[in-house]
């Protein structure tokens, strides 16, 4: 689908690539959300995260979110890119970019997409601390 770019990759995600995909002569605003790895969580220092995914299903769920965003909001294009594997502080696990004629729709669709991704897309992260590791959200 030419309005949707979905990616799950162990390569470094590219802000410029997501921006370039959604950029469009008819659009007046682009909202981009970039998730970044924080150096701490609650009280502990995080050394690295390891993202694993149920790949084929994750891609389907990401595409579902993208389609739903295009159907629900007045937006033109959407990119949802997610990283797999080991990431360190400052690395980028996820980028979501949305273009729209008007900015309000871009903000809403982008927020919808990242909120949905964190609820339904089968990707898990394990946090590694000095003294151990834990699956995030495992016991909600």
């Amino acid at each position: 689908m030419k309005n949707i770019s979905i990616k799950l990759t162990s390569d470094t995600l590219s802000l410029q690539e997501c921006y370039a995909f959604v950029e469009d002569p008819a659009c007046g605003g682009i909202d981009v959300f970039v998730g970044t790895v924080r150096n701490h969580t609650a009280k502990k220092t995080v050394n690295q995260l390891d993202f694993s995914a149920y790949g084929p299903m994750a891609l389907k769920e990401m595409e579902k979110i993208a389609r739903q965003a295009l159907e629900t909001y007045e937006v033109h294009k959407i990119a949802i890119h997610h990283a797999e594997g080991i990431l360190k502080t400052g690395d980028i696990p996820v980028i979501i970019a949305v273009s729209a004629a008007h900015r309000a729709a871009a903000f809403e669709a982008c927020k919808f997409a990242i909120d949905s991704l964190k609820e339904t897309v089968p990707i898990w992260k394990k946090e590694y601390f000095e003294d151990g590791e834990v699956w995030v959200n495992a016991h909600p």
């Binding site: 149920y54 299903m57 696990p93 089968p122 898990w124």
Partner: protein, 80 residues
């Protein structure tokens, strides 16, 4: 009948495997499978918050399984 069960995240750690082949009865539901898994792997007994996907789509407890379905055990996701 038999289904393939894929394990992820903490559930893979608890069971110590990433895939299982699991025998089921005709008309067994997702709920039946969950019960059977808990019986076979007692380490799951205190862990019931996972979702289930069948052939890469989320499925509810009453979903009826077929032979060779691929069932994924989906612990709470934490992408992003």
């Amino acid at each position: 009948m038999q289904v393939q069960v894929l394990l992820f995240g903490i559930v893979a750690d608890l069971i110590g495997k990433e895939t299982l082949n699991f025998a089921i009865e005709n008309n067994d539901t997702v709920k039946n499978l969950k019960t059977a898994l808990r019986t076979k792997y007692p380490q799951l007994k205190n862990y019931s918050t996972y979702a289930v996907a069948v052939n890469e789509h989320y499925a509810q407890d009453d979903f009826v399984l077929k032979d060779r379905d691929v069932v994924a055990i989906i612990p709470p996701v934490s992408g992003g």
